[in-house]
């Protein structure tokens, strides 16, 4: 069967409103796929659909050939799909280390009662998790911050912590929802570097992004959505230069540019 994360013919309707109408998107291991489109074009709905938060009315999602359509979110994670949210909501008192440790949840072997009683097995596993979190923190350059409270970090760092958390879940595919929103240029560059490194380690990344420059420099493929349909898909260059995308994405400015060009 095909390797990678594929969503084919995804349709979602809320009441009478069609949020997605036959969307196809694919992510290969080790590659970064971009998802662009105006607000309300269905990017986040597609994310919600793939991760099980929203049930599609039609279409299917597979991970390396395994059907995960309509599984609840907590089961989807076990198939190696992790995600971040557009607006991270964090427990301000949690430390960076514990936020990353949270990502291990789906792989914890100790039982609830065992953890409560502090049986040696649970104890050892906890120490093992701490050891396994270290390389992830190192990889994303968060090792120095492991003891800091998440509430004290900048938005850019919080988003990096969220990425680290996804990696901790052992995800083979990571879905990032506008990770660069509200970040400074330097922070964006740092994030892009980390995402590249993550992909280089064999993880497939699907990323929603508004920053065209970032999409160009980061993504291997791109898909543009408009009002729940795929407008066009291909290499980032081709998609970004596509006239329909320009018009949809840039809206009035695109029209203006086109008019000026015609004149």
């Amino acid at each position: 069967m095909s390797r990678g994360l594929t969503a084919t013919g995804i349709e979602v309707a809320f009441g009478g409103v069609h949020a997605l109408r036959g969307v196809d998107v694919a992510v290969e291991p080790g590659k970064v796929a971009g998802l662009i489109g105006r607000n309300g074009s269905g990017k986040t709905t597609l994310f919600n659909c793939i991760t099980g938060f929203v049930r599609p009315t039609a279409g299917r999602t597979t991970v390396d050939g395994v059907d995960v359509t309509s599984l609840p979110p907590d089961r989807v994670v076990k198939h190696g799909i992790a995600r971040t949210f557009q607006t991270p909501r964090v427990d301000p008192r949690a430390t960076v280390l514990s936020a990353v440790l949270c990502g291990f949840y789906s792989r914890v072997g100790a039982s609830f009662v065992g953890s409560l009683l502090g049986v040696p097995g649970a104890w050892r596993e906890e120490q093992r998790l701490h050891r396994r979190a270290e390389p992830i923190l190192e990889r994303l350059g968060l090792a120095e911050l492991r003891g800091r409270e998440v509430g004290q970090l900048s938005m850019g760092l919080i988003r990096l912590v969220e990425v680290a958390r996804c990696l901790a879940s052992g995800a083979r595919f990571v879905l990032l929802d506008e990770p660069a929103a509200g970040l400074t240029a330097a922070e964006q560059e740092r994030l892009a570097e980390q995402v590249r490194a993550v992909a280089a380690s064999g993880v497939g990344v699907l990323i929603v992004e508004h920053n065209i420059g970032l999409v160009r420099s980061l993504c291997d493929t791109a898909t543009a959505l408009e009002t729940g349909r795929v407008l066009c898909a291909g290499t980032p260059e081709a998609v970004v230069r596509d006239e329909r995308v320009m018009r949809s994405y840039l809206g009035a400015i695109g029209d203006l540019a086109a008019t000026e060009a015609a004149a």
Binding site: T51, G52, F53, P72, P73, D74, R75, V77, K78, A82, R83, F85, T87, P88, R89, V90, D91, P92, R93, A94, S98, L101, C102, G103, F104, Y105, S106, V108, A110, F112, S115, L116, L117, G118, A122, W123, E126, L129, G151, Q152, L153, S154, M155, I158, R165, S169, G182
Partner: protein, 333 residues
Amino acid sequence: MSFPGQRYLGPRPNTLIIAVCVLVALPVVLTRPVWTDSAVVLGVYALLGLSVGISYGQAGILTMSQGAFAAIGGYAAAILTTRFGWPPYADLLVAMALPAALAYGVARLVTRLSPLATALATLALGSVIEILIRNADALTGGYIGLAGIPSVGAINTPAGYACLAWGMIVVTVFLYENLMCSAYGRALNVLRVDQARARADGIDVPALMSAGFAVSAAVAGAAGWLYAHYISFLSPESLDTHISISALLMAVIGGAGYILGPIVGTLLFDGLTRLMPAAELQGFFYGAALIIILLAARTGILGLLAGLARRLRRPDATPAPRAANLSPQESLP
């Protein structure tokens, strides 16, 4: 520095603190009968406070039924020992398991709702249990109650009970801290702040919340068991809604999100109540204190202290360099 059991207690600061405090304070308390009696009653309240801490502070379930869970534990103890002749420590298991099972079942049904709806469900559950206890004359003795509950084995003096009560508290804090230092404890904190994030982490939210609530109910049941054996008499007024409310208030005032917060709240509050002129006004002071603490320090007294400590450690640190609207629920302790 090293001490026996360091490997286990080293990363368990709260257990260490409470164990040392109990070891230091108990010998002093036991020198006076009045203090000893207070220590037992306070122990029961502190256990109930801890049960609120687990449920509200960690799992985010604002519980108003802890008194009812304690009553179930107490009546289970009373009925098993007086009617069925069970030895008075074997009944502890039932006294904990019964409320836990009930809490788990109800929580499975209501935790998919908003936190507010869940809180109301616990209030309704507590009220139903109270009415049932009042009316099940054949089993609970109705309004008259049950008398002659035997003492726990060799422990039959107030001093013995004080040691038992605070020993139970140390053990509870140890287990509680174990849980919070595990993946499940962290997961509870995640789902309290953001259920969507919790589900994306792979957490079965209703199941885990219910498990947390069940643990909380088991602790409340243990408190009821202790109360029944110590007082040796149980009536519907012993452990009622009033107790649920006090336990909730004490936990919030001390800092429900901190493991030792409810114990601090209980000790402080009891001290204040003793200074009060009229017993009728107790509720007034409780309510006023709750409102004041919500306005002045939403994370409770321990939250206030922790904030002060943080500022002392890093005097130059700006208090909140984080983005607005980052965590709408941060107000939860």
